[in-house]
Symmetry: C2
């Protein structure tokens, strides 16, 4: 089996980390100067690895193998959260590069075709998984025209500033590929807590979101008696607490839900709030559970609106992402490679986070591999993984890639 | 009895409104350029009314009568909320000016001593009721040194910018005064709803406040299972909803409580919040009710902390303001004047809002008069009162002032 070069892998990961490094983290959001610098560096690395490399019109960096036969696409994304960790996305991108190199260096695998990719804007500066959506023909001209970041920067302006206006966009040809492999840090604590080294992803959980808008009457907090108040904040607190009480009754064992954004306006201790907003997000591998969450939220909204105080409107914040299932044949190859390299130290598990593989799986067979996150921490400067886990994960991915391509 | 000049009263109110006017409201926060412009204009008006006028070292404008004998202090504040109404404070200030003029113009009352005042920063840009506190010797050097506005501007710098550095500060001499009279818009809907023209304030409700700080663990909203979360927002929603369920059980008929400020950090739909803050404010005319609110909040905080999720700390946001009672003799004079001018159209009522009279009543006998607010709206550009109510209220105040001074 091909042998990865641990020093080269870690050295390239650290170089990528240095582009946009802030403290222990990385600030390299999609289309920022640092993001484009990283993409141009990756293009050079792909070329040095013998791949035909290009940056397409939405910023995807694609390195194509010159070998004949069906290819395996391996990669992830190199853009980061506004204050991101150094491995989220970057790990899977450098794994793709290293696996392409390792297979090319082994006489037994050098005929196999590995394409490496760094996808763009997985982290939703403009549109979540824009790069993989574009590769799959799912990023429409309308989505592009409407997209702007939270500061109001338009995607079309960001593309022009990045030198990508008019640059052709790649599309994945299902005839070329046997599938897509994405490695990622777990971003949760399960592997570490269970003393495991590799997670083989079974499915990526589905996700829905709603924004609740509360309309009350702003008033003086001293002179407005309780009986006549229409307090937007009181309705928000009541709905949020009720959701946290009722959702467990309809949840599955892997359900999560979060109300991580609440805004109270005008937001002064002495003013009865006239307006408020609450965002609810819920995830589950089972569509039926997502449906039950929707129904429960709708019932609780009706209850609040029946109370005669502030009223609440509910609207979806995004198109619901259906749960997506990873390819069983590719999962089996990853499992075999994990068992060979870390006997008894791997597991199958769903992914609670969304990933580009959840987009690409509609176009190509796709599978994912997780390595442990220290403390389960992610989307934070403190995000990290142990070097030996990073090296092990890449070797497992290389073995799995060789196994998948051997069957093509 | 003295007769006020309705045209002059309304003209001066409108002139004051023009200083800092924005749409139908006024933006004239304490020590802003417009606030100081208004104070210099008032000083001129006081002088034209025959008073000895000065602006003291915290911005109070004081117009002293040159007459002998005990004086009655009449006024309110001319600073506004960041986006304030045109009458809040301004009404009582111009009433003081007009009553001083009306009594001076009437041969039967021209020997009486009316001092007019515009107090500073009632609206808490730097420190609530700073001007009246300073007049009563309750604004300490330490409070002054620590005070800054929400944008981090230091009071000492604002004083210097307003030209007040080193300017002497007035103190109220209890030997000089029979008392303090403050007129104000009601800022609530009770008078309007009951078809009344005058409210004679019995007491100013006491007020307490607490800030709850929630400490959790920030994490990924997809990969962090519910069982291990320490979600600061979930603890906040639970506490706020519990307060709104439990407070009615210990409240009095005039109790109000508000949680008008909540902050969730980092505030993204996809991130389990690691920190949150909630402000609670509660008011009641009865100290025992305020005590019960404190006890209930403490019990609910303990319950949240016993659940094993995010933890909550509770700290007072301010020194509790005890309920303050208006002088019975002065209340009776206002009631007589109200009955004479608007028979059967007045009532006694507590003030749900705090006012400078609640500070000054610890140094001088104090009383307050309310006029109706249209729709009960205040602290808003839409704040307004009918001209005939404004004129009537000033005549009642003038009659009450003459009656109080006749007894000195």
């Amino acid at each position: 089996m091909p042998k990865i070069n641990a020093d080269r892998l870690l050295s390239d990961l650290r170089h990528l980390r240095s582009i946009g490094a802030v403290e222990n983290g990385v600030v390299r959001p999609a289309f920022s100067e640092k993001d484009m610098e990283a993409r141009h560096w990756l293009k050079g690395q792909y070329e040095s690895a013998g791949l035909e490399a290009s940056i397409d019109g939405v910023g995807n960096v694609l390195g194509r193998s010159k070998n004949d036969g069906k290819a395996l696409l391996i990669g992830s994304h190199s853009d980061t959260q506004p204050t991101g960790g150094w491995l989220d996305g970057a790990l899977g991108v450098i794994y793709g590069l290293e696996v392409a190199r390792a297979l090319a260096e082994d006489p037994e695998t050098r005929h196999l075709a590995v394409d490496a990719v760094s996808l763009q804007d997985e982290e939703s500066r403009f549109y979540g998984c824009m790069g993989s959506r574009s590769l799959c023909g799912e990023f429409t001209a309308e989505m592009e025209a409407d997209a702007q970041d939270k500061d109001g920067v338009r995607l079309t302006d960001a593309l022009a500033a990045a030198g990508l206006a008019g640059v052709p966009r790649e599309r994945l040809d299902p005839e070329r590929y046997v599938g897509f492999l994405e490695a990622h840090i777990e971003q949760g604590p399960q592997l570490e807590n269970d003393g495991l080294k590799i997670g083989v992803v079974t499915s990526i959980v589905g996700l829905g979101g709603r924004r609740f808008s509360f309309h009350g009457q702003q008033n003086h907090a001293g002179t407005t008696m309780m009986a006549i108040r229409k307090d937007a904040s009181a309705a928000l607190y009541a709905l949020a607490a009720a959701i946290n009480e009722e959702f467990p009754k309809v949840a599955g064992p892997r359900s999560v839900w979060t109300m991580g954004r609440a805004v109270i306006a005008p937001g002064a201790a002495s003013i009865v709030p006239g307006y408020a907003e609450l965002d609810l997000q819920y995830r589950d591998p089972d569509t039926a559970v997502l449906d039950r969450f929707e129904e429960t939220a709708a019932r609780l909204v009706d209850e609040i609106n029946g109370r005669g105080g502030a009223t609440v409107e509910s609207a979806p914040t995004r198109v619901r992402l259906a749960p997506s299932h990873m390819d069983e044949g590719m999962r089996a190859k990853i499992g075999q490679a994990a068992e060979a390299n870390a006997p008894g130290q791997w597991t199958e598990m769903p992914s609670g986070a969304f990933h580009d593989a959840g987009v690409i799986c509609s176009t190509l067979p796709a599978a994912m591999l997780f390595i442990p996150s220290i403390g389960g921490i992610s989307h934070d400067f403190a995000e990290d993984s142990h070097d030996n886990d990073i090296v092990l994960g890449c070797q497992v991915l290389a073995d799995a890639a060789a196994g998948i391509l051997a069957d093509r």
